[in-house]
């Protein structure tokens, strides 16, 4: 479940000292999903995407399922419970009527979602009528109040965990905007009052209550009838609520499967600016390649995890030994030994420090000056007061003067020359796109830079350059194939999404693999538009003349030449190989008496790999002969 970022950081503008607090707050969520199971939830049908009508109840369940599947991939530690109200049967610790807490074996009521839990919930329809049943819980005349009961059960479930370490929430899915509509008079007022009181009690305990209303086709969910009071809506928010809630529901369903990361300080650094004046900055990992989840080795027979034991064995004596304290490098025919301390001393050049060396114009930062993902830097006054002020002053100057800072950054294990590029805050309608601060970019050293482009420049002839016309045609082409609003955020990693999808399918024993759309393929259709095709043809004509196809073939010819050579070799081998009686040699065990060259005749004649030691070659021949 995503928090609305605007909401969470609404009070960002005040004092940044809160920041640390906010980061520490609530590392997980405890959520109880209260799903209305009244007959009405089943009777109303809405057309869904695949033309099948879905009831409100089905919509709610599939929404919950999707959001859990995402959560599991996110590897969140959120704990969830599903609780139906307006049911025929009851199942809850308080033994209250009309409330049914759904669960599977080996799982607490409020716990992390498991594959089994998700699977059971997805086949709920099969047994719902039999085991749970739908029935109005609020009937005039009786004192029963199923909504009240449900809230009570939810609140009791959320008693687990302290409010400091967890966000506790109750989400209500319903299409009944006036739950006490059929009750008359004093009883209604009474029920409304007690229900609201229950809600207030829950809120006092740090539980937030949210509503996901489902509107009828012909009539919109009227929040003001009852729920406005329950979730505390007023004024403008009231009008905005229903459409916004609809969006939230969509969001829940179509979230990207992506691991969520808490904003976490990677390091606290001392940034020495000049002559002993140092300020405090924190670094954050903003962009890091997402890797597939960690794997655990299992024993395929028992499916139990395997413990990996590492042992050190002396290569000379075969003796088992402790982790050796020394390392060595062979140098000038001797083994030069280093202790671990010495090695770390070498690497320790400027520990925990970022030292400013000077500034350069941005044009000095070339596109090839990069080695690793950048790291974000933001100032902090937590330990050194005045840090933020200097940082902002430098930040503004650097932006105004189009400069970046060069600094030396060292940790205990690694040190590097870095560029600090000031980034101005960028905000669009959706919120902050780029936060203000500096990005630390690792600069390569001279030995890290290669000069492949100079590799083929040995000849006297000057390298051809494009002429004006060719450049113009290229420009026309570029204009045609333009990605207007390209943003690096727009592509999901197809490999990763596929991985997650497979994992989910296997875990939930789903039969068919969900199709993952590869967003990174070029827009073939767009490229086939006449305007684009024309620009391409003009460019081709200008650069290749009418020889584009020939040049294409030239490449093939070259390849075929190489393959001709290979073929000639193979033919030779076939001939030579024919001179031996391989079967007899193999049977008499005399293969090993042949030379490697001779063995290779057989291998190349039979298109087998010719790599490896003699033993391998012999073995490969024998395997091939089926002996």
């Amino acid at each position: 479940m995503e928090l609305d970022p605007d909401d969470v950081f609404r009070d960002d503008d005040d004092d940044p000292e809160n920041e640390a607090l906010r980061q520490r707050a609530s590392s997980k969520e405890l959520v109880v999903y209260l799903v209305d199971a009244s007959p009405k939830m089943f009777s109303t049908k809405c057309p869904s995407e695949d033309q099948k009508d879905e009831s409100h109840f089905q919509i709610s369940i599939s929404c919950i399922l999707e959001s859990w599947k995402t959560q599991i991939i996110n590897r969140s530690y959120n704990e969830v419970a599903v609780c139906f109200f307006n049911t025929r049967e009851k199942k809850n610790l308080q033994d209250l009527n009309s409330v049914f807490v759904f669960n599977v074996a080996d799982r607490e009521f409020l716990d992390r979602p498991t594959a089994k839990f998700i699977k059971e919930l997805s086949r709920l329809e099969e047994f719902f009528v039999k085991e749970i049943g739908s029935q109005h819980g609020i009937v005039s005349g009786s004192r029963e109040n199923s909504l009240y009961n449900a809230l009570w059960v939810a609140q009791a479930l959320l008693r687990k965990g302290s409010a400091k370490t967890a966000d506790k929430r109750i989400l209500i899915f319903t299409d009944e905007d006036d739950p006490f509509g059929n009750i008359k008079g004093g009883a209604k007022a009474d029920m409304t009052r007690t229900t609201l009181q229950r809600v207030k009690d829950a809120q006092d305990l740090g539980i937030s209550i949210e509503l996901l209303p489902l509107s009828q086709l012909d009539r919109e969910f009227n929040v003001s009838l009852f729920y406005a009071d329950l979730i505390g809506l007023q004024g403008e928010d009231l009008a905005q609520f229903v459409p916004a809630a609809g969006e939230r529901m969509e969001d829940m369903k179509y979230q990207l499967r992506k691991r969520m990361f808490k904003k976490r300080i990677v390091r606290k650094l001392t940034f020495s600016v000049a002559n002993g004046v140092s300020i405090e900055v924190h670094t954050y990992a903003f962009i890091r390649p997402t890797v597939l989840g960690s794997i655990t080795w299992l024993d395929s027979v028992t499916n139990q995890p395997i413990k990996i034991e590492r042992s050190f064995i002396c290569a000379d004596t075969g003796a088992l030994m402790q982790e050796p304290p020394k390392h060595f490098q062979t140098y000038k025919n001797q083994n030069v030994k280093f202790s671990v301390e010495e090695l770390s001393e070498i690497k320790r050049v400027s520990t925990g420090q970022l030292r400013l060396l000077g500034f350069k114009p941005l044009s000095c930062l070339k596109d090839y000056h990069n080695l690793r993902p950048s790291t974000f830097i933001f100032p902090s006054d937590e330990e050194v007061i005045g840090s933020t002020r200097i940082f902002i002053a430098l930040h503004r100057s650097m932006i105004r003067l189009n400069r970046f800072a060069v600094a030396f950054y060292g940790t205990s294990s690694h040190s590097q020359l870095v560029a600090l590029v000031a980034q101005e805050e960028i905000i669009d309608s959706g919120g902050q796109v780029e936060p203000p601060g500096m990005h630390m970019i690792c600069l390569p050293y001279s030995d890290d830079i290669r000069h492949a482009e100079e590799l083929h420049s040995g000849t006297n002839a000057a390298i051809p350059r494009a002429n004006e016309d060719q450049i113009k045609k290229a420009a026309a082409l570029i204009k045609r194939i333009d990605l207007k609003d390209f943003s690096v955020y727009q592509f999901a990693n197809p490999g990763l999404q596929r991985h997650y999808a497979i994992l989910q399918a296997l875990a939930l024993e789903e039969d068919d693999l969900p199709e993952i759309k590869d967003e990174t393929v070029p827009d073939e259709e767009g490229l086939a538009r006449p305007g684009v095709v024309k620009a391409i043809e003009e460019f081709k004509l200008s650069v290749y003349g009418d020889k584009y196809d020939e040049s294409d073939n030239a490449g093939h010819k070259k390849v075929s030449e190489a393959s001709k050579k290979r073929k000639a070799l193979a033919d030779g081998a076939v001939q030579k190989s024919a001179q031996y009686n391989w079967d007899a040699l193999a049977d008499s065990g005399k293969l090993k008496d042949l030379t490697v060259v001779e063995l290779k005749f057989y291998l190349s004649a039979h298109d087998l790999p010719v790599s490896g030691k003699k033993e391998d070659l012999v073995k490969r021949i024998l395997t091939h002969m089926g002996k």
Partner: protein
């Protein structure tokens, strides 16, 4: 191995005007040989000096001329002696003629290899190009250069010239310098040659590649702009981090008499079932398990292969976009370079046209790349133009990998403009900062750009190889401090700081920084700024260690509290679950004592500090850590003397605190007498 054997001849100017640069020349040349000893020990190197008093080369004997050129070392396989030779290059007495030296070097290569070994023969010239070259006997200098260049091309040699150009050139030298530059510049036009100018000794150290790596393409094929337009390209790595060498683990188990012992350590992994520690699980019975919620889902490699994402090998353009849409900090990895297939003239033209058009229009291309068939994922990145200004180098593209949506973490930060005014700079402060940024300029228009990545050596690696060389001769040598020239990379240039002192001072005047008084002392300690003196260095090591401890243990750090410090310390010392506790306890105790003394007003904390010190001393004797205590006591006394806290030393002396002597703990290297006299002596010395 022999196939990749490189032959290198170093041509070094040792004339008088080069003398002050020779220490750097010695460093870079010996570094080249040292790295060859590690990575390519069959390479061959020769050394030619010019500008020497003497003359010693084969050409002078054969045809005459070529005076003042000495072959210091004939071409031979690299060895330790060569490193020694290059560490002590003899100084010359006369201005040298670099063209003569080039011819001599070329002659050596030709005689040794004739026309074999093409492309693996290299000449490296290091000179300042301030000495005039003689007119040739016939023809002009240009003709001579042409003849040399032709020879080089036909023998497949490369020439790299490093011209050291320091700021001030005397007037009379200007014409010589210009003439020389012109001559040297002819080489890149005629043959496979490269020339770089460097201005500082630091960039001289980075001017030559110290390790040659044969370039390998990571992709050869079509750059597909549309199915109808494919350009043949080769993709290489442009940057790739040279890693700290992986050392082998050392085993001392072999008997010292065994001359042929490898001393290597094999690391063996065994997979055992968790329930039964004696049961080894064979490799074919292992299966990978993937986390799904609280469960682990076993999936075999075959299952994955059947269903996993398998894109086709291809490099396709998705489209072009404004370069402003790509932020510099989005670049993810090391950089690749796209070069047109060198055999395809039209492809070179097509790349050239696109690169130039993109540059003019400030556009980048977005690419989707699958380098190899069978690769399990795709890469999306930005192609940026690299327009060449050298006639012999084709235009090309740089390629930087961009993040996917999953890779970007959306953290929010407060806007600077919304921060309270107390955290924002006022106008004057802003002006001081502007001035500071302007003045601390590393790329002034009239000088070489300082710390240019292309000419900056890796200080850590330099340090390692220097230490390796040192250790090969003195196995017990300590790690040497960072070389002075390398300090220009890790620390601000004092010259620059001195020159721009006013801008720096004004910045410091306008801004105030102070430690947050609300923070606890122990936290503050870590932030103390290191100054570089040895004592401070020690200090920093202690505190940074402390920091690691704190981070590792979070809030759980077993602290020595304020109420019962001695008891806490003793409890910590007696913990046996992890030997680290002892070190931690000692370090914490030291900090505590330090804090007490520092905070004491007229010695009110002294008795408490003494109690702690006595406890620490006792603990150190018990745990056989006398050095820890002795070093600390030294440090403490030094600290007290420096900070007007002499009274504490006196106080200690009066209470009979001494160093831990040999008789109390065998590991101590302090005799009983020394121990007893330590504080007494201190007392007598000052004033």
């Amino acid at each position: 191995m022999a196939r990749n054997k490189e032959a290198l001849v170093l041509l070094l100017d040792v004339g008088p005007s080069m003398h002050h640069l020779l220490p750097e020349v010695e460093k870079i040349c010996s570094m080249i040989v040292q790295k060859k000893l590690v990575y390519s020990k069959y390479d061959e190197v020769g050394v030619v000096l010019f500008g020497t008093e003497e003359t010693e080369n084969e050409l002078t004997m054969e045809v005459g001329g070529y005076e003042h050129v000495v072959v210091l070392q004939n071409i031979k396989v690299v060895d330790g002696d060569l490193v020694e030779t290059l560490k002590k290059i003899p100084r010359g007495t006369l201005p040298g003629d670099f063209l003569d030296a080039i011819v001599v070097g070329m002659d050596m290569l030709i005689k040794k290899y004739s026309s074999t070994n093409k492309g693996k023969k290299r000449l490296c010239l290091i000179t300042n190009g301030l000495s005039p070259i003689k007119d040739p006997y016939e023809g002009s200098k240009e003709d001579q250069v042409n003849a040399i260049a032709q020879q080089m091309t036909s023998h497949g040699m490369k020439l790299e010239s490093v011209v050291v150009r320091e700021s001030v050139v005397l007037d009379e030298n200007v014409s010589v310098m210009e003439e020389n530059d012109r001559i040297l510049n002819l080489f890149p036009k005629r043959t496979c040659a490269k020339m770089v100018f460097v201005e500082s000794s630091t960039s001289l150290l980075g001017a030559l590649k110290t390790r040659s790596i044969s370039p390998v393409t990571i992709f050869r094929g079509d750059l597909e702009i549309s199915p109808k337009l494919k350009i043949k390209v080769w993709v290489y790595k442009k940057t790739s981090e040279e890693k700290f060498p992986t050392l082998k683990k050392y085993s001392d188990k072999a008997p010292s008499t065994d001359k042929f012992a490898s001393h290597e350590v094999k690391v063996d992994f065994e997979y055992k079932s968790v329930e039964d520690a004696n049961k080894v699980v064979p490799p074919e019975q292992r299966i990978k398990g993937y986390q799904y919620g609280p469960q682990v889902v076993p999936i075999s490699a075959d299952e994955w292969d059947a269903v996993k994402f398998k894109p086709e090998k291809s490099v396709k353009v998705l489209g072009f976009t404004d370069s402003s849409n790509i932020m510099r900090h989005h670049y993810m990895k090391d950089v690749n370079i796209f070069i047109a297939d060198p055999g395809d003239q039209n492809a070179i033209l097509a790349v050239s046209a696109l690169a130039r058009a993109m540059k003019e229009m400030h556009k980048v291309a977005i690419l989707r790349c699958v380098w190899r068939q069978g690769q399990g994922n795709v890469v999306v990145g930005a192609l940026t133009p690299n327009v060449s200004d050298n006639d012999h180098v084709p235009d090309s593209f740089y390629f930087n990998v961009l993040p996917f949506a999953e890779d970007v973490r959306e953290f929010q930060f407060p806007s600077f403009s919304n921060l309270p005014a107390s955290l924002l700079p006022d106008e004057e402060q802003q002006e001081a900062a502007d001035n500071f940024v302007k003045m601390l300029d590393l790329a002034p228009s009239d000088k070489e750009e300082m710390l240019q990545p292309d000419f900056t050596p890796n200080p850590v690696l330099e340090r390692f190889y220097n230490y390796l060389e040192l250790k090969s001769k003195h196995p017990d040598a300590a790690v040497p401090p960072l070389d002075k020239t390398l300090k220009r990379i890790t620390e601000p240039d004092p010259e620059l700081l001195a020159k721009k002192k006013s801008a720096i001072d004004s910045l410091l005047r306008h801004f105030e920084v102070k430690q947050n008084p609300k923070l606890k002392k122990s936290m503050k300690r870590m932030r103390e700024k290191p100054s570089g003196s040895d004592e401070e260095d020690n200090y920093r090591r202690i505190t940074s260690k402390n920091k690691v401890d704190l981070i590792e243990n979070g809030v759980k750090v077993e602290k020595i509290g304020d109420l019962t410090p001695v008891q806490d310390f003793e409890l910590m010392m007696s913990r046996r679950d992890n030997p680290e506790w002892i070190n931690r306890a000692i370090t914490e105790m030291k900090n505590k004592i330090h804090d007490l003394i520092e905070d004491s007003i007229e010695g009110d904390n002294y008795p408490k500090a003494l109690d702690l010190l006595v406890a620490l001393r006792k603990g150190c004797i018990l745990e056989q850590e006398p050095k820890q205590f002795n070093d600390f006591l030294h440090q403490l006394c030094k600290f007290c003397l420096e900070h007007d806290l002499r009274s504490f030393c006196d106080f200690l002396a009066s209470k009979g605190i001494t160093l831990i002597s040999k008789t109390e703990a065998v590991d101590s290297d302090v005799t009983e007498e020394e121990a007893r006299n330590y504080l007494v002596k201190r007392e007598a010395k000052p004033e």
